[in-house]
Symmetry: C2
Subunit: 253 residues, 2 copies
Amino acid sequence: MNEAQQARLAMRRGEWTGPTVYKIPGYVQCNLVVLPKADAYEFLLYCQRNPRPCPLIDVTDPGDPTPRLAAPDADLRTDLPRYAVYRHGVRCDDVTDIKALWREDSVGFLIGSSLTFDDALERAGVPKSQEVWVLNTTLPTTPAGKFQGPMVVTMRWMTPAQAVIAGQLTGRFPYNHGAPIHLGDPHAIGADLDHPIYGEPVKTIPNGVMPVFWACGVTPQRVALTTKPELMITHAPGHAFITDLRADQVCIP
Amino acid sequence: MNEAQQARLAMRRGEWTGPTVYKIPGYVQCNLVVLPKADAYEFLLYCQRNPRPCPLIDVTDPGDPTPRLAAPDADLRTDLPRYAVYRHGVRCDDVTDIKALWREDSVGFLIGSSLTFDDALERAGVPKSQEVWVLNTTLPTTPAGKFQGPMVVTMRWMTPAQAVIAGQLTGRFPYNHGAPIHLGDPHAIGADLDHPIYGEPVKTIPNGVMPVFWACGVTPQRVALTTKPELMITHAPGHAFITDLRADQVCIP
């Protein structure tokens, strides 16, 4: 059993309910979106039109909770540490399994996560930043049907030299958001440092580092606030799905 | 008016009905697939599951013949030099416009083409091979609903040194099939040299060169033979859609 399988089993048993940030290095981590089949075409199209925030790693057949390409023995209903349940665009519940919510027409979308490349960054000489933030911005995404809204980003602090390495390296991971979407002034993209989706509010940026931003797979959760689908289940930010895929093997698929 | 717009206008007027191979260098060329909305979800999923042969550049809204991301003033009904019309899996007609076949529920899929990177290869020191072949293989693709079948590839002849450069360079073009899918022995992937889809039958491979193979966006046309959708319109092999996108700008999108 590989480390990803062990981690998923611990989540399935309810023994692991915390974040996956910096956990199980080397395996591709994914954001999750679950929608009814009736909404699946427009959402699939939304992902196609927005590959930076929403690079698709796997999409399940309706009703099938197994992501057959990414983790053929996994169950998306139980194998994440924490889920967020949105009804009509309102995050109304956080749960640790979604067995009772899974339907015959449920389709699971796995979207690559920047958590995947933190380990590769470290191997390339960029130590893990103390924290990874998930932030709202005012950057628009390309609409598809009813799906539309601004982009969510992750933010890491790096020295300029580290930011250059990170730009080169993450460009090799197009299925995990690719190169940075922005660097420097957070206000240029309307990044909301006062109200992070994940992480503590940011009062000041330390001397000697600059913020580096990547498009984030939490974007569909922001989009849900605008689109208000009847039912949409996602991972809780920072609590990703860990696939069997090795990050180094899929960096250029 | 840019060179791509001029080329499309010549096609729209019926003045350009020949191949686009090696034409209008620097612009992203695309394979076309047009399907009724009823088949669009499964085909979109097929592309998502097979990004090497079917990297999606743009997908139109139902009934809308304009690819708004790739070429906002183009018309997919007239702006290709030649189309192939498949009915129930049979290629029954080749035409130079599809105005009479376009329906209110038609969805156009633009799939990146390896014709895009020939110019970049030349700039990197790999001269254009005398010919580009399009060949059937026995390599399987990942099914999605009714869409399934073996992969189609392009073949170019290169010296080993050129093949190494081509591997490095085309890996930077994931939206135009990325790195080679195979090099060397054509029989290892069941490449049918006797009956090319595009190009002359290959009797012998010259000394000093090796065949290099890329996944090809003509794959959906081979898939149509198996899937037999009621109506599927594609570009004729070698006769691609020329977008406004610059190849160098989308090499890492």
